[in-house]
Protein backbone atom coordinates (compact mmCIF):
# COMPACT_ATOMS: atom_id res chain seq x y z
CA UNK A 1 0.00 0.00 0.00
CA UNK A 2 1.20 3.49 -0.74
CA UNK A 3 2.00 5.60 2.23
CA UNK A 4 3.60 8.98 2.60
CA UNK A 5 7.17 9.37 3.77
CA UNK A 6 5.93 11.17 6.87
CA UNK A 7 3.75 8.32 8.02
CA UNK A 8 6.54 5.80 7.34
CA UNK A 9 8.96 7.79 9.45
CA UNK A 10 6.35 8.04 12.20
CA UNK A 11 5.61 4.30 12.10
CA UNK A 12 9.28 3.37 12.25
CA UNK A 13 10.00 5.86 15.02
CA UNK A 14 7.13 4.50 17.07
CA UNK A 15 8.33 0.96 16.41
CA UNK A 16 11.81 1.84 17.68
CA UNK A 17 10.33 3.27 20.85
CA UNK A 18 8.20 0.16 21.40
CA UNK A 19 11.17 -2.13 20.73
CA UNK A 20 13.13 -0.27 23.40
CA UNK A 21 10.23 -0.39 25.87
CA UNK A 22 9.44 -4.07 25.49
CA UNK A 23 12.99 -5.38 25.31
CA UNK A 24 14.55 -3.10 27.92
CA UNK A 25 13.73 -5.13 31.07
CA UNK A 26 15.24 -8.30 29.64
CA UNK A 27 18.26 -6.37 28.39
CA UNK A 28 18.63 -4.65 31.76
CA UNK A 29 18.42 -7.96 33.59
CA UNK A 30 21.24 -9.35 31.44
CA UNK A 31 23.61 -6.37 31.66
CA UNK A 32 23.10 -5.98 35.41
CA UNK A 33 23.86 -9.65 35.93
CA UNK A 34 27.34 -9.15 34.44
CA UNK A 35 28.27 -6.12 36.53
CA UNK A 36 29.89 -5.90 39.94
CA UNK A 37 27.63 -4.71 42.75
CA UNK A 38 30.14 -1.95 43.49
CA UNK A 39 29.60 -0.58 39.96
CA UNK A 40 25.85 -1.04 40.18
CA UNK A 41 25.79 1.10 43.32
CA UNK A 42 27.94 3.84 41.84
CA UNK A 43 25.90 6.84 40.67
CA UNK A 44 24.69 6.81 37.08
CA UNK A 45 23.73 3.55 35.34
CA UNK A 46 25.95 1.96 32.70
CA UNK A 47 23.90 1.08 29.62
CA UNK A 48 26.49 -0.80 27.63
CA UNK A 49 27.52 -4.29 28.69
CA UNK A 50 31.11 -3.42 29.51
CA UNK A 51 33.44 -4.84 32.10
CA UNK A 52 31.72 -8.21 32.23
CA UNK A 53 32.15 -10.25 35.38
CA UNK A 54 30.86 -13.68 36.31
CA UNK A 55 31.09 -12.84 40.01
CA UNK A 56 27.28 -12.63 40.38
CA UNK A 57 26.77 -16.05 38.83
CA UNK A 58 29.38 -17.47 41.17
CA UNK A 59 27.52 -16.00 44.16
CA UNK A 60 24.26 -17.51 42.90
CA UNK A 61 25.75 -20.98 42.56
CA UNK A 62 27.24 -20.64 46.03
CA UNK A 63 24.05 -19.34 47.61
CA UNK A 64 22.01 -21.47 49.99
CA UNK A 65 19.55 -23.76 48.33
CA UNK A 66 20.20 -22.83 44.71
CA UNK A 67 21.30 -26.38 43.94
CA UNK A 68 18.40 -28.03 45.78
CA UNK A 69 15.84 -25.65 44.25
CA UNK A 70 17.25 -26.32 40.81
CA UNK A 71 16.93 -30.06 41.39
CA UNK A 72 13.39 -29.62 42.77
CA UNK A 73 12.38 -27.54 39.76
CA UNK A 74 13.80 -30.11 37.36
CA UNK A 75 11.97 -32.94 39.14
CA UNK A 76 8.55 -31.31 39.28
CA UNK A 77 8.86 -29.98 35.73
CA UNK A 78 10.00 -33.31 34.31
CA UNK A 79 7.28 -35.23 36.10
CA UNK A 80 4.60 -32.77 34.99
CA UNK A 81 5.71 -32.90 31.35
CA UNK A 82 5.85 -36.69 31.16
CA UNK A 83 2.53 -37.29 32.94
CA UNK A 84 0.78 -34.48 31.06
CA UNK A 85 1.86 -35.80 27.66
CA UNK A 86 0.85 -39.37 28.46
CA UNK A 87 -2.60 -38.60 29.88
CA UNK A 88 -3.33 -35.88 27.34
CA UNK A 89 -2.40 -38.10 24.40
CA UNK A 90 -4.85 -40.77 25.53
CA UNK A 91 -7.62 -38.22 26.05
CA UNK A 92 -6.88 -36.53 22.72
CA UNK A 93 -7.17 -39.88 20.93
CA UNK A 94 -10.47 -40.54 22.69
CA UNK A 95 -12.11 -37.27 21.65
CA UNK A 96 -10.61 -37.31 18.19
CA UNK A 97 -11.21 -40.94 17.17
CA UNK A 98 -14.45 -41.83 18.95
CA UNK A 99 -17.90 -40.37 19.15
CA UNK A 100 -19.04 -41.35 22.58
CA UNK A 101 -21.69 -40.15 24.98
CA UNK A 102 -20.28 -37.37 27.12
CA UNK A 103 -17.67 -36.38 24.55
CA UNK A 104 -18.97 -32.84 24.11
CA UNK A 105 -19.44 -32.52 27.87
CA UNK A 106 -15.83 -33.58 28.32
CA UNK A 107 -14.60 -30.96 25.83
CA UNK A 108 -16.69 -28.20 27.39
CA UNK A 109 -15.41 -29.21 30.81
CA UNK A 110 -11.84 -28.89 29.51
CA UNK A 111 -12.54 -25.35 28.38
CA UNK A 112 -14.25 -24.35 31.63
CA UNK A 113 -11.49 -25.90 33.71
CA UNK A 114 -8.93 -23.77 31.87
CA UNK A 115 -10.58 -20.70 33.37
CA UNK A 116 -10.54 -21.71 37.04
CA UNK A 117 -8.10 -19.38 38.79
CA UNK A 118 -5.21 -21.17 40.46
CA UNK A 119 -4.92 -18.13 42.72
CA UNK A 120 -8.23 -19.09 44.32
CA UNK A 121 -7.63 -22.83 44.50
CA UNK A 122 -4.31 -22.52 46.29
CA UNK A 123 -6.21 -21.85 49.55
CA UNK A 124 -7.86 -25.26 49.64
CA UNK A 125 -5.04 -27.03 47.79
CA UNK A 126 -2.88 -26.65 50.89
CA UNK A 127 -5.41 -28.51 53.02
CA UNK A 128 -6.15 -31.14 50.38
CA UNK A 129 -2.47 -32.02 50.00
CA UNK A 130 -1.95 -31.89 53.77
CA UNK A 131 -4.73 -34.45 54.07
CA UNK A 132 -2.99 -36.70 51.56
CA UNK A 133 0.33 -36.18 53.34
CA UNK A 134 1.69 -34.61 50.17
CA UNK A 135 2.50 -31.07 51.29
CA UNK A 136 6.15 -30.24 50.70
CA UNK A 137 6.41 -33.08 48.23
CA UNK A 138 7.24 -33.08 44.55
CA UNK A 139 4.33 -35.43 43.91
CA UNK A 140 1.90 -33.05 45.61
CA UNK A 141 3.10 -30.08 43.56
CA UNK A 142 2.92 -32.18 40.40
CA UNK A 143 -0.73 -33.01 41.14
CA UNK A 144 -1.48 -29.29 41.28
CA UNK A 145 0.42 -28.51 38.06
CA UNK A 146 -0.88 -31.46 36.08
CA UNK A 147 -4.51 -30.39 36.35
CA UNK A 148 -3.66 -26.90 35.16
CA UNK A 149 -1.64 -27.87 32.08
CA UNK A 150 -4.11 -30.61 31.11
CA UNK A 151 -6.71 -28.50 29.24
CA UNK A 152 -4.22 -26.81 26.92
CA UNK A 153 -2.35 -30.05 26.33
CA UNK A 154 -5.46 -32.07 25.47
CA UNK A 155 -6.91 -29.35 23.29
CA UNK A 156 -3.72 -28.85 21.30
CA UNK A 157 -2.93 -32.56 20.91
CA UNK A 158 -6.47 -33.15 19.75
CA UNK A 159 -5.74 -30.89 16.78
CA UNK A 160 -2.65 -32.93 15.95
CA UNK A 161 -4.41 -36.29 16.26
CA UNK A 162 -7.19 -35.00 14.01
CA UNK A 163 -4.52 -34.34 11.41
CA UNK A 164 -3.39 -37.98 11.30
CA UNK A 165 -5.49 -39.97 8.78
CA UNK A 166 -7.24 -42.80 10.57
CA UNK A 167 -6.61 -45.03 7.57
CA UNK A 168 -3.05 -45.39 8.82
CA UNK A 169 -4.33 -46.92 12.06
CA UNK A 170 -6.69 -49.14 10.13
CA UNK A 171 -3.83 -50.38 7.98
CA UNK A 172 -1.90 -51.36 11.08
CA UNK A 173 -4.99 -53.12 12.41
CA UNK A 174 -5.40 -55.09 9.21
CA UNK A 175 -1.87 -56.28 9.85
CA UNK A 176 -3.09 -57.66 13.15
CA UNK A 177 -2.37 -54.83 15.57
CA UNK A 178 -4.94 -54.03 18.24
CA UNK A 179 -6.64 -50.67 18.20
CA UNK A 180 -4.90 -49.40 21.33
CA UNK A 181 -1.57 -50.63 20.03
CA UNK A 182 -2.10 -48.86 16.73
CA UNK A 183 -2.55 -45.59 18.62
CA UNK A 184 0.86 -46.00 20.17
CA UNK A 185 2.77 -47.44 17.21
CA UNK A 186 1.19 -45.41 14.41
CA UNK A 187 -0.44 -42.25 15.77
CA UNK A 188 1.98 -41.39 18.57
CA UNK A 189 5.08 -41.01 16.35
CA UNK A 190 3.12 -38.95 13.84
CA UNK A 191 2.02 -36.40 16.45
CA UNK A 192 5.60 -35.94 17.68
CA UNK A 193 5.61 -32.23 16.72
CA UNK A 194 2.47 -31.81 18.83
CA UNK A 195 4.08 -33.63 21.74
CA UNK A 196 7.10 -31.34 21.50
CA UNK A 197 4.94 -28.22 21.42
CA UNK A 198 2.69 -29.24 24.30
CA UNK A 199 5.61 -30.65 26.25
CA UNK A 200 7.38 -27.30 26.01
CA UNK A 201 4.20 -25.57 27.11
CA UNK A 202 3.95 -27.82 30.17
CA UNK A 203 7.63 -27.25 30.87
CA UNK A 204 7.22 -23.47 30.82
CA UNK A 205 4.14 -23.58 33.05
CA UNK A 206 5.71 -25.81 35.69
CA UNK A 207 9.09 -24.07 35.55
CA UNK A 208 7.58 -20.58 36.02
CA UNK A 209 4.86 -21.42 38.50
CA UNK A 210 4.97 -19.40 41.70
CA UNK A 211 1.62 -19.32 43.52
CA UNK A 212 1.03 -23.03 44.15
CA UNK A 213 4.69 -23.53 45.01
CA UNK A 214 4.44 -20.65 47.49
CA UNK A 215 1.75 -22.36 49.56
CA UNK A 216 2.64 -26.01 48.99
CA UNK A 217 6.43 -25.96 49.37
CA UNK A 218 6.97 -23.97 52.56
CA UNK A 219 10.21 -25.59 53.69
CA UNK A 220 13.49 -24.07 52.45
CA UNK A 221 14.86 -27.39 51.22
CA UNK A 222 11.67 -27.94 49.21
CA UNK A 223 11.77 -24.63 47.33
CA UNK A 224 11.56 -24.52 43.55
CA UNK A 225 13.60 -21.98 41.58
CA UNK A 226 10.98 -19.18 41.57
CA UNK A 227 10.61 -19.52 45.35
CA UNK A 228 14.37 -19.53 45.75
CA UNK A 229 14.68 -16.37 43.65
CA UNK A 230 12.06 -14.53 45.66
CA UNK A 231 13.67 -15.50 49.01
CA UNK A 232 17.04 -14.45 47.62
CA UNK A 233 15.57 -11.16 46.37
CA UNK A 234 13.69 -10.53 49.62
CA UNK A 235 16.72 -11.39 51.72
CA UNK A 236 19.01 -9.09 49.73
CA UNK A 237 16.66 -6.12 50.30
CA UNK A 238 18.05 -4.24 47.33
CA UNK A 239 21.71 -4.70 48.19
CA UNK A 240 22.62 -7.44 45.72
CA UNK A 241 20.97 -6.56 42.42
CA UNK A 242 23.83 -8.18 40.53
CA UNK A 243 23.14 -11.54 42.17
CA UNK A 244 19.36 -11.23 41.92
CA UNK A 245 19.61 -10.42 38.21
CA UNK A 246 22.01 -13.33 37.66
CA UNK A 247 19.46 -15.62 39.32
CA UNK A 248 16.63 -14.13 37.25
CA UNK A 249 18.66 -14.64 34.08
CA UNK A 250 19.33 -18.29 34.87
CA UNK A 251 15.60 -18.92 35.37
CA UNK A 252 14.41 -16.84 32.41
CA UNK A 253 16.79 -17.86 29.61
CA UNK A 254 15.57 -21.46 29.16
CA UNK A 255 11.99 -20.20 29.17
CA UNK A 256 12.68 -17.59 26.49
CA UNK A 257 14.48 -20.09 24.27
CA UNK A 258 11.66 -22.61 24.50
CA UNK A 259 8.99 -19.97 24.20
CA UNK A 260 10.38 -18.68 20.91
CA UNK A 261 9.93 -22.19 19.52
CA UNK A 262 6.26 -22.61 20.37
CA UNK A 263 4.71 -19.16 20.79
CA UNK A 264 2.38 -19.53 17.77
CA UNK A 265 0.81 -22.64 19.18
CA UNK A 266 0.48 -21.13 22.64
CA UNK A 267 -1.37 -18.16 21.18
CA UNK A 268 -3.70 -20.53 19.34
CA UNK A 269 -4.27 -22.67 22.42
CA UNK A 270 -5.08 -19.73 24.67
CA UNK A 271 -7.88 -18.65 22.38
CA UNK A 272 -8.84 -22.32 21.96
CA UNK A 273 -11.82 -22.65 19.71
CA UNK A 274 -11.99 -18.96 19.05
CA UNK A 275 -9.79 -18.80 15.99
CA UNK A 276 -10.37 -20.73 12.87
CA UNK A 277 -7.50 -21.67 10.64
Amino acid sequence: MRSSLGSRVFANGLALLLIALSAFPVYWMLTTSFRLNADIRSPGPEFLPLGGTLENYRSVFDSDNFGTSFANSLKVTGLTVVLALFTAFLAAVAVSRFRFRGRVTFLVMILVVQMVPAEALMISMVKVLEGWDLRNSIIGLTIAYLAFVMPFTIWTLRGFVNGVPRELEEAAMVDGSSRLRAFFTVTLPLVAPGLVATGIFAFIQAWNEYTFALVIMNRPEKETLPLWLQSFNFGARGTDWGGVMAGSTLITIPVIVFFLLVHRRIAAGLTAGAVKG
Partner: protein
Protein backbone atom coordinates in the same frame (compact mmCIF):
# COMPACT_ATOMS: atom_id res chain seq x y z
CA UNK B 1 -7.18 -25.37 15.14
CA UNK B 2 -7.61 -26.38 11.59
CA UNK B 3 -9.93 -29.31 11.99
CA UNK B 4 -13.41 -29.50 10.65
CA UNK B 5 -15.08 -31.86 13.02
CA UNK B 6 -18.47 -32.00 11.45
CA UNK B 7 -16.96 -34.27 8.81
CA UNK B 8 -16.24 -36.90 11.38
CA UNK B 9 -19.88 -37.46 12.05
CA UNK B 10 -20.41 -39.02 8.66
CA UNK B 11 -17.34 -41.21 8.85
CA UNK B 12 -17.81 -44.13 11.20
CA UNK B 13 -14.85 -45.36 13.14
CA UNK B 14 -12.75 -48.19 11.81
CA UNK B 15 -13.90 -51.65 12.81
CA UNK B 16 -12.86 -52.72 16.23
CA UNK B 17 -10.08 -55.25 16.38
CA UNK B 18 -12.53 -58.04 17.07
CA UNK B 19 -14.98 -57.00 14.36
CA UNK B 20 -14.51 -58.74 11.03
CA UNK B 21 -15.70 -56.83 7.99
CA UNK B 22 -14.30 -53.37 7.37
CA UNK B 23 -17.65 -52.12 6.10
CA UNK B 24 -17.84 -48.32 6.02
CA UNK B 25 -21.29 -48.11 7.60
CA UNK B 26 -22.95 -50.28 10.16
CA UNK B 27 -26.37 -49.88 11.70
CA UNK B 28 -25.39 -51.08 15.14
CA UNK B 29 -22.14 -51.02 17.06
CA UNK B 30 -21.50 -52.35 20.52
CA UNK B 31 -20.81 -49.50 22.95
CA UNK B 32 -17.09 -48.81 23.05
CA UNK B 33 -15.51 -48.82 26.44
CA UNK B 34 -12.14 -47.81 25.01
CA UNK B 35 -12.85 -44.06 24.67
CA UNK B 36 -13.98 -43.90 28.29
CA UNK B 37 -10.92 -45.79 29.44
CA UNK B 38 -8.71 -43.39 27.49
CA UNK B 39 -10.15 -40.33 29.22
CA UNK B 40 -9.84 -41.80 32.73
CA UNK B 41 -6.24 -40.67 33.43
CA UNK B 42 -7.05 -37.11 32.34
CA UNK B 43 -10.22 -37.09 34.43
CA UNK B 44 -8.34 -38.38 37.46
CA UNK B 45 -5.67 -35.68 37.01
CA UNK B 46 -8.24 -32.91 36.67
CA UNK B 47 -10.36 -34.32 39.49
CA UNK B 48 -7.47 -34.57 41.94
CA UNK B 49 -5.78 -31.28 41.11
CA UNK B 50 -8.81 -29.16 40.38
CA UNK B 51 -12.21 -30.71 40.97
CA UNK B 52 -11.65 -31.89 44.50
CA UNK B 53 -9.77 -28.75 45.66
CA UNK B 54 -12.61 -26.67 44.22
CA UNK B 55 -15.13 -28.78 46.15
CA UNK B 56 -13.06 -28.42 49.32
CA UNK B 57 -12.88 -24.67 48.76
CA UNK B 58 -16.67 -24.61 48.77
CA UNK B 59 -16.85 -26.70 51.94
CA UNK B 60 -14.17 -24.66 53.71
CA UNK B 61 -16.00 -21.43 52.97
CA UNK B 62 -18.86 -22.68 55.18
CA UNK B 63 -16.57 -23.71 58.03
CA UNK B 64 -14.80 -22.09 60.91
CA UNK B 65 -11.40 -23.30 59.77
CA UNK B 66 -8.64 -21.59 61.70
CA UNK B 67 -5.76 -22.12 64.06
CA UNK B 68 -7.47 -24.78 66.17
CA UNK B 69 -8.02 -26.94 63.10
CA UNK B 70 -4.29 -26.68 62.46
CA UNK B 71 -3.87 -28.69 65.62
CA UNK B 72 -6.40 -31.33 64.73
CA UNK B 73 -9.75 -29.97 65.96
CA UNK B 74 -12.51 -30.84 63.48
CA UNK B 75 -13.74 -27.81 61.50
CA UNK B 76 -17.09 -26.47 62.58
CA UNK B 77 -19.95 -25.85 60.15
CA UNK B 78 -21.05 -22.25 60.37
CA UNK B 79 -23.24 -21.87 57.29
CA UNK B 80 -22.82 -18.60 55.47
CA UNK B 81 -21.15 -16.80 58.38
CA UNK B 82 -17.89 -16.35 56.48
CA UNK B 83 -19.77 -14.69 53.64
CA UNK B 84 -21.87 -12.42 55.85
CA UNK B 85 -18.63 -11.66 57.66
CA UNK B 86 -16.78 -10.49 54.55
CA UNK B 87 -19.78 -8.86 52.89
CA UNK B 88 -20.31 -6.79 56.03
CA UNK B 89 -16.67 -5.80 56.12
CA UNK B 90 -15.96 -2.42 54.53
CA UNK B 91 -12.47 -3.69 53.73
CA UNK B 92 -13.97 -6.33 51.41
CA UNK B 93 -15.74 -3.68 49.35
CA UNK B 94 -12.58 -1.63 49.26
CA UNK B 95 -10.52 -4.58 47.99
CA UNK B 96 -13.22 -5.59 45.51
CA UNK B 97 -13.45 -2.08 44.12
CA UNK B 98 -9.66 -1.88 43.92
CA UNK B 99 -9.46 -5.22 42.10
CA UNK B 100 -12.16 -4.23 39.63
CA UNK B 101 -10.62 -0.83 38.93
CA UNK B 102 -7.16 -2.37 38.52
CA UNK B 103 -8.57 -5.02 36.21
CA UNK B 104 -10.52 -2.48 34.17
CA UNK B 105 -7.51 -0.23 33.70
CA UNK B 106 -5.20 -3.13 32.88
CA UNK B 107 -7.62 -4.58 30.32
CA UNK B 108 -8.31 -1.20 28.71
CA UNK B 109 -4.61 -0.36 28.41
CA UNK B 110 -3.72 -3.86 27.19
CA UNK B 111 -6.44 -3.89 24.53
CA UNK B 112 -5.81 -0.37 23.25
CA UNK B 113 -2.04 -0.89 23.31
CA UNK B 114 -2.29 -4.34 21.74
CA UNK B 115 -4.59 -3.09 19.00
CA UNK B 116 -2.24 -0.19 18.26
CA UNK B 117 0.79 -2.46 18.11
CA UNK B 118 -1.09 -4.85 15.80
CA UNK B 119 -1.94 -2.04 13.37
CA UNK B 120 1.66 -0.85 13.55
CA UNK B 121 3.00 -4.36 12.80
CA UNK B 122 0.97 -4.34 9.61
CA UNK B 123 2.50 -1.08 8.43
CA UNK B 124 6.15 -1.81 9.10
CA UNK B 125 8.70 -3.17 6.67
CA UNK B 126 9.99 -6.69 7.17
CA UNK B 127 13.09 -5.85 9.20
CA UNK B 128 11.35 -3.57 11.64
CA UNK B 129 8.42 -5.93 11.97
CA UNK B 130 10.72 -8.81 12.88
CA UNK B 131 12.63 -6.65 15.36
CA UNK B 132 9.42 -5.51 17.05
CA UNK B 133 8.02 -9.06 17.11
CA UNK B 134 11.14 -10.41 18.77
CA UNK B 135 11.09 -7.66 21.42
CA UNK B 136 7.43 -8.35 22.13
CA UNK B 137 8.16 -12.06 22.41
CA UNK B 138 10.84 -11.30 25.00
CA UNK B 139 8.30 -9.43 27.12
CA UNK B 140 5.72 -12.17 26.69
CA UNK B 141 8.11 -15.02 27.46
CA UNK B 142 9.52 -13.59 30.68
CA UNK B 143 8.02 -15.43 33.67
CA UNK B 144 5.73 -13.28 35.84
CA UNK B 145 8.00 -13.66 38.85
CA UNK B 146 11.31 -12.73 37.21
CA UNK B 147 9.60 -9.93 35.27
CA UNK B 148 8.34 -8.44 38.53
CA UNK B 149 11.75 -8.79 40.17
CA UNK B 150 13.42 -7.07 37.20
CA UNK B 151 10.87 -4.23 37.22
CA UNK B 152 11.42 -3.92 40.95
CA UNK B 153 15.10 -3.33 40.16
CA UNK B 154 14.26 -0.82 37.41
CA UNK B 155 12.14 1.13 39.93
CA UNK B 156 14.60 0.63 42.80
CA UNK B 157 14.69 3.50 45.28
CA UNK B 158 18.42 4.13 45.37
CA UNK B 159 19.96 2.77 42.18
CA UNK B 160 16.94 2.27 39.92
CA UNK B 161 17.25 3.52 36.37
CA UNK B 162 13.82 5.21 36.41
CA UNK B 163 14.68 7.45 39.36
CA UNK B 164 18.02 8.24 37.74
CA UNK B 165 16.40 9.17 34.41
CA UNK B 166 13.65 11.30 36.01
CA UNK B 167 16.22 13.12 38.13
CA UNK B 168 18.33 13.77 35.01
CA UNK B 169 15.24 15.22 33.35
CA UNK B 170 15.01 17.75 36.15
CA UNK B 171 12.46 16.12 38.47
CA UNK B 172 13.33 15.43 42.07
CA UNK B 173 13.19 11.66 42.15
CA UNK B 174 16.43 11.05 44.02
CA UNK B 175 15.72 8.25 46.49
CA UNK B 176 12.00 8.18 45.59
CA UNK B 177 10.28 5.07 46.87
CA UNK B 178 7.72 3.90 44.31
CA UNK B 179 6.33 1.01 46.29
CA UNK B 180 5.68 2.70 49.61
CA UNK B 181 2.60 4.58 48.47
CA UNK B 182 -0.55 2.91 46.97
CA UNK B 183 -0.99 5.09 43.89
CA UNK B 184 2.56 4.76 42.60
CA UNK B 185 2.59 1.12 43.74
CA UNK B 186 -0.34 0.38 41.45
CA UNK B 187 1.22 2.40 38.64
CA UNK B 188 4.24 0.09 38.71
CA UNK B 189 2.03 -3.02 39.04
CA UNK B 190 -0.14 -1.86 36.14
CA UNK B 191 2.92 -1.22 34.01
CA UNK B 192 4.17 -4.78 34.61
CA UNK B 193 0.81 -6.40 33.90
CA UNK B 194 0.23 -4.36 30.74
CA UNK B 195 3.81 -4.86 29.55
CA UNK B 196 3.34 -8.62 29.84
CA UNK B 197 -0.19 -8.60 28.42
CA UNK B 198 0.19 -6.54 25.25
CA UNK B 199 2.26 -9.01 23.16
CA UNK B 200 -0.34 -11.80 23.17
CA UNK B 201 -3.14 -9.39 22.28
CA UNK B 202 -1.03 -7.70 19.60
CA UNK B 203 0.00 -10.97 17.92
CA UNK B 204 -3.50 -12.41 17.98
CA UNK B 205 -5.07 -9.25 16.55
CA UNK B 206 -2.29 -8.94 13.98
CA UNK B 207 -2.95 -12.53 12.87
CA UNK B 208 -6.63 -11.68 12.48
CA UNK B 209 -5.78 -8.56 10.48
CA UNK B 210 -3.58 -10.46 8.04
CA UNK B 211 -6.69 -12.45 7.11
CA UNK B 212 -8.19 -9.31 5.59
CA UNK B 213 -7.44 -9.38 1.89
CA UNK B 214 -5.07 -6.74 0.56
CA UNK B 215 -7.48 -5.98 -2.25
CA UNK B 216 -10.19 -4.85 0.13
CA UNK B 217 -7.77 -2.52 1.87
CA UNK B 218 -6.49 -1.24 -1.47
CA UNK B 219 -10.01 -0.64 -2.70
CA UNK B 220 -10.85 1.27 0.46
CA UNK B 221 -7.71 3.36 0.04
CA UNK B 222 -8.54 4.11 -3.61
CA UNK B 223 -12.03 5.13 -2.57
CA UNK B 224 -10.35 7.75 -0.45
CA UNK B 225 -10.78 6.19 2.96
CA UNK B 226 -8.27 7.65 5.44
CA UNK B 227 -6.49 5.39 7.91
CA UNK B 228 -9.13 5.93 10.60
CA UNK B 229 -11.96 5.17 8.19
CA UNK B 230 -10.12 2.08 6.96
CA UNK B 231 -9.71 0.91 10.55
CA UNK B 232 -13.33 1.57 11.48
CA UNK B 233 -14.99 0.18 8.36
CA UNK B 234 -12.65 -2.60 7.20
CA UNK B 235 -10.31 -3.75 9.97
CA UNK B 236 -12.59 -3.43 13.02
CA UNK B 237 -15.50 -5.52 11.70
CA UNK B 238 -13.02 -8.26 10.78
CA UNK B 239 -11.27 -8.38 14.15
CA UNK B 240 -14.24 -7.69 16.41
CA UNK B 241 -15.08 -11.34 17.26
CA UNK B 242 -11.54 -12.17 18.36
CA UNK B 243 -11.28 -8.79 20.08
CA UNK B 244 -14.24 -9.68 22.30
CA UNK B 245 -12.66 -13.03 23.18
CA UNK B 246 -9.40 -11.27 24.08
CA UNK B 247 -11.23 -8.82 26.32
CA UNK B 248 -12.87 -11.71 28.18
CA UNK B 249 -9.58 -13.58 28.57
CA UNK B 250 -7.65 -10.51 29.70
CA UNK B 251 -10.35 -9.66 32.21
CA UNK B 252 -10.13 -13.11 33.75
CA UNK B 253 -6.35 -12.96 33.91
CA UNK B 254 -6.11 -9.44 35.29
CA UNK B 255 -8.75 -10.07 37.93
CA UNK B 256 -6.75 -12.87 39.49
CA UNK B 257 -3.35 -11.20 39.31
CA UNK B 258 -1.30 -12.37 42.27
CA UNK B 259 2.44 -12.77 41.73
CA UNK B 260 3.13 -9.20 40.63
CA UNK B 261 1.20 -7.67 43.53
CA UNK B 262 2.60 -10.09 46.10
CA UNK B 263 6.25 -9.55 45.14
CA UNK B 264 5.87 -5.77 45.01
CA UNK B 265 4.18 -5.86 48.43
CA UNK B 266 7.11 -7.77 49.89
CA UNK B 267 9.45 -5.17 48.41
CA UNK B 268 7.45 -2.11 49.41
CA UNK B 269 6.25 -3.22 52.81
CA UNK B 270 2.63 -2.10 52.50
CA UNK B 271 -0.06 -4.72 51.99
CA UNK B 272 -3.26 -3.44 53.61
CA UNK B 273 -3.54 -0.53 51.19
CA UNK B 274 -2.48 -2.58 48.18
CA UNK B 275 -4.24 -5.95 48.57
CA UNK B 276 -6.27 -7.22 45.66
CA UNK B 277 -8.66 -10.19 45.99
CA UNK B 278 -5.94 -12.80 45.39
CA UNK B 279 -3.36 -11.46 47.83
CA UNK B 280 -6.02 -10.73 50.44
CA UNK B 281 -7.36 -14.29 50.30
CA UNK B 282 -3.80 -15.60 50.60
CA UNK B 283 -2.98 -13.37 53.56
CA UNK B 284 -6.22 -14.20 55.40
CA UNK B 285 -5.89 -17.93 54.86
CA UNK B 286 -2.23 -18.84 54.80
CA UNK B 287 -0.60 -16.00 56.73
CA UNK B 288 -3.47 -15.26 59.11
CA UNK B 289 -4.66 -18.86 59.43
CA UNK B 290 -8.29 -18.04 58.66
CA UNK B 291 -8.83 -20.63 55.97
CA UNK B 292 -12.61 -20.39 56.12
CA UNK B 293 -12.62 -16.67 55.48
CA UNK B 294 -9.87 -16.98 52.86
CA UNK B 295 -11.92 -19.64 51.07
CA UNK B 296 -14.96 -17.34 51.04
CA UNK B 297 -12.89 -14.55 49.45
CA UNK B 298 -11.44 -16.98 46.92
CA UNK B 299 -14.96 -18.16 46.03
CA UNK B 300 -15.95 -14.58 45.24
CA UNK B 301 -13.05 -14.57 42.79
CA UNK B 302 -14.10 -17.89 41.29
CA UNK B 303 -17.71 -16.70 40.89
CA UNK B 304 -16.76 -13.55 39.03
CA UNK B 305 -14.45 -15.58 36.80
CA UNK B 306 -17.14 -18.17 36.11
CA UNK B 307 -19.62 -15.48 35.07
CA UNK B 308 -17.05 -14.19 32.61
CA UNK B 309 -16.33 -17.74 31.45
CA UNK B 310 -19.96 -18.36 30.56
CA UNK B 311 -19.92 -15.20 28.47
CA UNK B 312 -16.59 -16.17 26.92
CA UNK B 313 -17.70 -19.70 26.01
CA UNK B 314 -20.92 -18.45 24.45
CA UNK B 315 -18.84 -16.21 22.22
CA UNK B 316 -16.63 -19.13 21.26
CA UNK B 317 -19.40 -21.56 20.50
CA UNK B 318 -20.89 -19.05 18.16
CA UNK B 319 -17.73 -19.35 16.13
CA UNK B 320 -16.74 -22.96 16.08
CA UNK B 321 -18.34 -26.30 16.46
CA UNK B 322 -16.76 -28.62 18.94
Amino acid sequence: MTTVLSEERTVPGPPSASGGTPSPRRSWRPPHLLPYALTVPALVAIGAGLGYPLYRLGIMSTQDYGLRQQFGAPPEYIGFDNFTDILGDTYFWEVLRRSLVFCLLAVALTMVGGCGVAVLLGRLGRVMRTALSVSLLLAWATPALTATVVWQWIFDTRFGVVNWALTKLGFDYEGHSWLAEPLSFFTVALLIVVWMGIPFVAFTLYAAMTQISGEVMEAAAIDGAGSWARFRDVIWPAIKPIFVVLVALSTMWDLRVFTQIFVLQEAGGISTETNLLGTWAYREAVTGNHFGKGAAIALVMVSITLLLTVFHLRQMFRQEEI
